[in-house]
């Protein structure tokens, strides 16, 4: 049988998918054990019990300075920044993308501006943001927004502009105005695409969040990773990275499920 025809049923596919991950973990454990056999004080590849001990400290004891549990304080702070940034970017993508996509005059006027903003590397703007907005929360959220919004705007605008011309014409023959076409034809069809754009933007959003936190912050997942790096504390960095990965996966899954639930028509006939 040709490889292109080898369909994997669901349960074997779960096993197959878990295999490389398990293999990678085993590899790590093997290397870590080897290093620890040579040097019991090794910090570069910590064993799971060391990670557990380090994390227990951050998870269960309150910080004397802030009176908060460090791990949860970091998580809440980072998620808040990420959520705000992603939310603002998504809303503006929807609003600007729809107008750019549906109304040719708006596209002609603001299309080049959006393109120009989109090609600026966002990290290059970070100093400007810090100077203009200070070192507080605003600058970090702004970096995420500036980093992901232009791409999302362009994606939504392009998608809406590519809706079949026949649909727009048909709507007009049914008496729809520009406004009605925007809210009843373009907006609902842009929604699944918007969730898709959010999924794709999650990765860059995390990058900008960690960057902003690494440079100027006093709490946050990214801040913590870069702080403990000074002490070579891999036993904290690795669990933090795993936690970030887990959060990102959960968000991705939530967005997929949301899209399937809310917009079944966009996910094929089966519903």
């Amino acid at each position: 049988m040709r490889w292109v025809n080898r369909q994997i049923p669901r349960s074997p596919s779960v096993v197959l998918g878990a295999l490389p991950i398990l293999l990678l973990i085993l590899c790590y454990l093997f290397l870590a054990a080897q290093r620890h056999a040579a040097n019991p004080m090794d910090k570069v590849l910590p064993l799971p019990d060391m990670m557990a001990a380090a994390m227990a400290n951050l998870l269960f004891t309150t910080d004397q300075l802030t009176g908060q549990i460090v791990f949860w304080a970091d998580t809440v702070a980072s998620l808040q920044r990420l959520g705000l940034g992603l939310g603002i970017a998504t809303l503006s993508a929807l609003l600007i993308g729809l107008l750019l996509g549906v109304l040719p005059p708006v596209r002609a006027t603001f299309g080049p501006l959006v393109t120009a903003i989109a090609v600026i590397p966002p990290i290059a703007l970070l100093p400007i943001l810090f100077i203009a907005l200070g070192l507080g929360e605003t600058a970090k959220v702004a970096l995420i927004v500036i980093g992901i919004a232009p791409v999302m705007v362009r994606d939504i605008a392009a998608y809406v502009a590519q809706l079949p011309r026949e649909q727009i014409i048909k709507a007009q023959t049914l008496g729809a105005s520009s406004w009605q076409i925007i809210i009843r034809v373009a907006l609902p069809q842009a929604m699944p695409r918007l969730l898709h754009a959010m999924r794709l933007s999650l990765g860059p959003a995390w990058v900008f969040l960690i960057s902003a936190e690494a440079i100027a912050s006093d709490v946050g997942l990214g801040y913590r990773i870069f702080l403990v790096r000074r002490y070579l504390a891999m036993d904290v960095i690795i669990p933090y990275v795993a936690w970030i990965a887990l959060l990102a996966i959960v968000m991705d899954v939530v967005l997929v499920v949301l899209s399937r639930r809310m917009f079944p028509w966009a996910h094929g006939a089966g519903h």
Partner: protein
């Protein structure tokens, strides 16, 4: 003069390329006009001009004596070969859309008794086109024939002065096409519609139409193929004593008529 739609000296040019030249037509209320012609002869251009999707370079169009706006409107309904329905709405909501646009300019949604009334009207229309059992299906769950039925219902609920069909049955199976022919004939008779249909199927043109227009170039310069545009080279009124009914036995009669039509065309061709 009791022409519903009258075109005089319509020209459509794209730069150097002349697509339609000097098209002059009067279309009477209640007629079923089929437009045929080789590809590239401007059939669809003519339809787009009448629809208001395209502005003619020269010429004048009157609908019931009043100049037509150079924009699509609810006075002219349309069914395209594809993409005529909104994929994010169920059959019922696709049909209600036209009523919602008219009665709720801001929200494009109806509530309470207005909503119930609109729904009843839409259900009636959908039943008339044979989709009474499929009110809540999404377009992705429908077959090609059902989609075209839905597109027709959607257009008819606005009671357009003219219904424009752009190769509406071109993508359907021959068996389904015959069903659709019966349906459109019945609707044409029941709702006293005025229909203009573009088709590449000559048999269909003569079976359904009360008048067949053949578009082609009168002159052809082999060194400048775009120099001359197409116009109506044949304009054949078909004397259909009574419109064909749903009865399959009538099909024979209309087939015969189609053959007579073809003969007429040949005779004229030999002159």
């Amino acid at each position: 003069m009791n022409a519903l739609l009258s075109l005089s000296n319509i020209w459509v040019e794209y730069g150097e390329k002349i697509v339609l030249e000097n098209v002059t037509l009067d279309i009477e209320t209640g007629s079923f006009v089929s437009i045929i012609g080789p590809s590239g002869a401007g059939k669809s251009s003519l339809l787009r001009v009448i629809l208001g999707q395209e502005v003619p370079t020269r010429g004048r169009m009157l609908l019931e004596g009043k100049p037509l706006a150079a924009e699509c409107g609810p006075d002219r309904g349309v069914v395209f070969q594809r993409y005529s329905v909104f994929p994010h709405l169920s059959a019922l909501r696709n049909t209600v859309f036209g009523l919602e646009c008219e009665k709720a300019p801001l929200s494009a949604r109806l509530f309470g008794s207005a909503r119930t009334a609109a729904r009843t009207e839409a259900v009636e229309m959908l039943t008339a086109v044979g989709l009474g059992d499929s009110l809540h299906l999404y377009p992705a769950q429908m077959s090609g024939g059902m989609l075209q039925r839905l597109a027709i219902a959607q257009a008819l609920i606005k009671r357009p002065r003219i219904l424009l069909l752009d190769e509406p049955f071109g993508a359907l199976d021959p068996g389904i096409r015959v069903d659709m022919h019966r349906l459109i004939t019945r609707l044409w008779r029941d709702y006293s519609l005025t229909i203009i249909m573009v088709t590449h199927d000559i048999r269909e043109a003569f079976t359904l139409g009360t008048r067949v227009l053949a578009l082609d170039k009168r002159r052809h310069d082999p060194h400048a193929p775009n120099r001359y545009g197409a116009t109506a080279i044949y304009d054949l009124p078909l004397h259909r004593a009574d419109p064909p009914s749903d009865d399959p036995a009538d099909d024979k009669a209309s087939n015969q008529q189609a053959e007579t039509g073809q003969q007429t065309k040949e005779t004229i061709g030999h002159e």
